[in-house]
Symmetry: C2
Subunit: 479 residues, 2 copies
C-alpha cells in the first residue's frame, strides 16, 4: 500500500465509520481545515506560520536533519572507540535517555545485550535514567571489573540535572579509584553545551572528549542531535538513514495543503478530540521494536502540550494524557477498558506492513484439532490480524482510531516517524495557542529537591522547612 515512507491513515475517526456522536463529520472536518488555513485564526494559516517560525530560527530542532557536523563528530568518535568499547553506558534522563532507548529497541535485536553473535562486535548498551541505588548498584557490581572496556556517556546540557550529576559523581569516583585519572579521562565522554555550564567546565578540567547539545533544542526534541545519535551509532545503527528519513518527512510536513500534510492532520485530530472530552491519547504499536517510540512520544506529548494558559480565574489547564500500550500484549490487559470503559480516548496504532523476518507456527498437535486454523501460519500475519481485529472491535464501540503504517521498520522509517511526531507536536501547540518548547511546571519540584538535599541558602532552608511540614506523615491518615 505505502510506496516508500510511513503513512497516516485516518478514515476510522470519521462519522461515517463510528457515528456522529464520536466521529468527525464533514462539517467538523471543514472547521479543522479552516482552523489551519487561517480563516478562523488570528495567527493566519498555521502551516505557513510554522514554516515561518522555522525560517526565523525559532524551532531549531527542525534543522537537525540537515546538520552535517553533528553526525561527522559522532562518527569520528565512534571510529576512535572501535575495538576498545564492550559496554556503552548512557547517564541521562528524560530527553537524554528516551530517544536513545527508543532507537535501540527499534533498530537492534531483542537479544542484543545478551547474544554476542547478534551484537556483532558492538558494545552492549545500558541507559540509566534514574537514581535507584538498588538498580544502579546491581549494575556497578557487574561493571566494576570491566571499566577499561566501558564508555560512560554523560548527557546533560547544563550539568545541573540532579539525577545525572549524582550518577556521574558515583561513576567518577569508581573510575578514579579503580583506573585513575587517565582512566577517567579515557572512559567518559560528555554530551553537553558547546561553551557553558558545569559539565562543560568539568569536561575541560578532566580532559573528556565531548559532543554538543545544540542551542535551543529542548531535550524532548534532541534525539536527532548528538544526544541520540552517539549511542545509536556506537551500536551500529545507520544514523545517516535516520537523518535521511527525517529529511524526507520534513518535505511532507512543510506542505501547505492541509490534507496532504500528515503532521497537520495528526494535530487537528488530536485537538478536535481533546476539545470534545477525550483527554487520553493512546499510542499502541503492534510491534515490539516500536514499543519504546511510544514512550518517547509520551514525553514529547506530555511536556510539550501539558500547559496552563492564562492566569488566576481565567487559567485553563490543557493537555491530553499520552498513554503507551503495546499490541497484541495489551489486548489481554487494556482492551476491556478501551471498549467498555468511557469513550475518553483517541487511539493511534503503529502497524508494520513487512516484518524484517517472520516465523511459521508449525503443525497443530494431534490432540488439538481446534488449533488447525493456526497451523503453518506466519506470526507476523497473526500480529497484524490481531491489530485489525482489535481496531474492528473498537470501531464497533465507536472509538476513534488512526494508524501510522510503517512499510518496514528501519532507520529511515524510524527517522520519518520521529520527525513526523515532533512537527505534529508543534502544530498541536499552535492549535492550543500554547508554547510547546518550555516546561515551567517542573521548576518547583527541582527547587524542592535542591532544598531537601541541603542546597545552601536561606531561601532553600525555608523551602525545605515548608515542604517537610506539608509532607510530614500524620499518623491519623496512616492505614
Amino acid at each position: 500500500m505505502a510506496e516508500s515512507g510511513i503513512r497516516l491513515y485516518y478514515k476510522n475517526v470519521t462519522a461515517e465509520v463510528i457515528g456522529v456522536e464520536n466521529g468527525i463529520t464533514d462539517a467538523q472536518f471543514d472547521d479543522l481545515v479552516a482552523e489551519f488555513d487561517g480563516r478562523s485564526s488570528k495567527t493566519g494559516p498555521l502551516i505557513t506560520e510554522l514554516n515561518r517560525q522555522r525560517a526565523a530560527g525559532r524551532t531549531p530542532y527542525r534543522d537537525l536533519p540537515y546538520n552535517t557536523e553533528y553526525p561527522a563528530d559522532v562518527k569520528q568518535l565512534v571510529s576512535e572507540l572501535a575495538g576498545r568499547c564492550e559496554n556503552f553506558v548512557v547517564l541521562g534522563i528524560g530527553g537524554s535517555a528516551l530517544g536513545n532507548i527508543a532507537l535501540q529497541t527499534a533498530l537492534n535485536p531483542y537479544m542484543y545485550n545478551i547474544d554476542d553473535a547478534q551484537r556483532k562486535g558492538r558494545p552492549r548498551l545500558f541507559v540509566f535514567d534514574n537514581v535507584d541505588p538498588v538498580q544502579f548498584g546491581s549494575f556497578l557490581d557487574w561493571v566494576a571489573g570491566r571499566l577499561d572496556r566501558t564508555i560512560f556517556n554523560v548527557i546533560s546540557k547544563s550539568g545541573q540535572t540532579v539525577e545525572t550529576a549524582a550518577q556521574f559523581m558515583i561513576i567518577r569516583r569508581l573510575l578514579l579509584d579503580k583506573i585513575g585519572s587517565e582512566g577517567l579521562r579515557n572512559q567518559v565522554i560528555a554530551t553537553t553545551d558547546a561553551t557553558k555550564g558545569i559539565l562543560r567546565s568539568i569536561s575541560e578540567d578532566a580532559g573528556f572528549r565531548t559532543l554538543i547539545v545544540p542551542e535551543g533544542v529542548g531535550g524532548r526534541f534532541s534525539v536527532l542531535s548528538p544526544v541520540g545519535l552517539f549511542s545509536a551509532a556506537m551500536c551500529g545503527i545507520d544514523i545517516d538513514s535516520l537523518l535521511a528519513g527525517a529529511k524526507d518527512m520534513d518535505k511532507r510536513v512543510r506542505c501547505e495543503e492541509f490534507s496532504r500534510n500528515p503532521a497537520a492532520v495528526i494535530a487537528a485530530i488530536n485537538w478536535h478530540y481533546y476539545n470534545r472530552g477525550k483527554n487520553i491519547s493512546v499510542m499502541m504499536p503492534y510491534s515490539y521494536a516500536l514499543r519504546d517510540l511510544a514512550d518517547w512520544y509520551r514525553q514529547l506529548w506530555a511536556e510539550s502540550l501539558g500547559k496552563a494558559k492564562g492566569h488566576d480565574d481565567k487559567q485553563v489547564d490543557i493537555g491530553p494524557t499520552p498513554v503507551k500500550a503495546l499490541g497484541a500484549t495489551d489486548q489481554h490487559s487494556q482492551v476491556q477498558l478501551y471498549r467498555e470503559g468511557p469513550n475518553d480516548k483517541l487511539f493511534t496504532f503503529l502497524q508494520v506492513e513487512n516484518f524484517n523476518r517472520d516465523l511459521k507456527t508449525g503443525p497443530a498437535p494431534a490432540p488439538a484439532p481446534e488449533l488447525g486454523y493456526l497451523a503453518e501460519k506466519d506470526m507476523g500475519v497473526l500480529l497484524n490480524s490481531e491489530k485489525t481485529a482489535t481496531e474492528y472491535a473498537l470501531l464497533d464501540s465507536q472509538r476513534p482510531c488512526i494508524t501510522v503504517f510503517f512499510p518496514e521498520v528501519n532507520a529511515r522509517t524510524v527517522g520519518e516517524f520521529i520527525y513526523l511526531f515532533e512537527v505534529a507536536t508543534s502544530f498541536t501547540a499552535l492549535l492550543f495557542r500554547i508554547n510547546a518548547y518550555d516546561q515551567p511546571a517542573v521548576e518547583l519540584g527541582k527547587e524542592a529537591t535542591f532544598a531537601l538535599m541541603g542546597k545552601p541558602g536561606k531561601k532553600d532552608r525555608d523551602l525545605a522547612r515548608q515542604i517537610r511540614s506539608l509532607t510530614e506523615v500524620d499518623k491519623k491518615f496512616l492505614v
Copy 2:
C-alpha cells in the same frame, strides 16, 4: 514509621491539604464511610458483603495465600529441575505474564539475566507475552543451541489463547526438530486447567509435567497461584514469604472498620475521584524494583473496572484509566503535564523507606562547586527527596496524592501489596456495582482474530468479510 508491613497514607487527598475544589472534605469522607457501612447502599455494609462473598466461594483468589498444595507442587518441580535448567522461558500473556514479570523485577537484581554472579546458579528468565516475529526470532536464534538446558513453561487455562498457542507451536516444532519427542517432553511444563481444555489434552498426550491454574481465578488474580509462583521459585524468590505477606494483608483487609481497612480506603478514594471527573489513576513507584508492579496493577484495574453497566440508552461506561509512571524518571517526562495539565488524575505513589542497599555519590568535582550540596549523599535519600519534592509540587497544584509505603522491598511486602490491590479492586467494583471478574468486551476482538486467521465455518467467513470491508484501506484517507 511503618512497623512491619506496608502502609497506606492518604492525608494528601484531603480538602485540608489541597482545598475544597479537589480535596475530600470531612462531609464527603463521611459519605464514603456511609457508602461502606451500608447506610446508603442496597447491598448492606460492603466489607461484610465482600467477606460474605469470600465465605461463599465467590472470590477464589482470596484462598490462594492459604493453599498449601500449590507451593508444594511448585517446590517439588523446582527441586526436580535443579541443576539442569539454565534458561526458564514463560510463554503466556496478560495475567499469565504480568505477575511473573513484576515478581522478577521486584525481587531479583537488575542485572540478573546478564551477570552470572548475581544469578547464583539460577536460570535466566524470559517472559514472552506477544507474537512479534522479529522479537521472538531474535530469541530463537539464541536459544536454539541451548534447548536441552532450557525449560519452557506454557501457561494457558484453556490452551486456546491464540498468542500462547502460536508461540507453543513454534517451540514445539523447534524442540521436536532439534532434540526429538523425549526432549519435547522433558523441556516443556504446562500450567493449565486441572482436567479439561486443549493444553491439558496436549500435555497428557506428550507427557508434559503440569501445574494447575485454579478454577475460578481469573488471569489477573492468579499471580499467587502456580501461574506466578513457578517462575518465581525457579529464580530463587521466596514464595513462602510472598504468600505469608498476602496472608498478613488478608487479616487487614477483612477488618470491618472502614478506616482501618487499607483496601477499603483505596477503593473509596478511587471511586470518589472517578465520580468527580478524575478519570485517570496514575501509579508511580519511586523504585525501579516496583516498576512492573505498576504494570501488573494496570491490567488488574483496567480489566476489572472497565465495564459497561445497563443497556441501550441507559448504558453507562465506567472505568478509570490506570497509567504507569516511574519516579524519578518520569519527572522529566510527565510531571509538567501532571502539574499544569487538567486536574483529571489521582496519584498513587509507592515509596520505599529502606532500600536494600545504598550508594554514596562521591565528592563534587573541583570545577563544579555548585554540586557541593550533592557530595557524599546517599542515592536512596536523593530518590526519596525527589518523591517528596514532586508530591509537594503536585499538592501546590491541588492534585490528590496517596502513598503506599514499603518498609523495604522483599517477598513479604510484595505479597502484601499484591493482595492489597486485588482486594481494593474487589471493593471498587462493589462501589461501582459492576462485576470485577469478567471481561466480556474482549470477546469480539478474539472472534475477529479467529475469523481473520481462517477459522473454518460460515459464521467466521462472514465475520472476516465484514471486518475486511470495514478496515480495508481507503486511499482517500491516507496521508
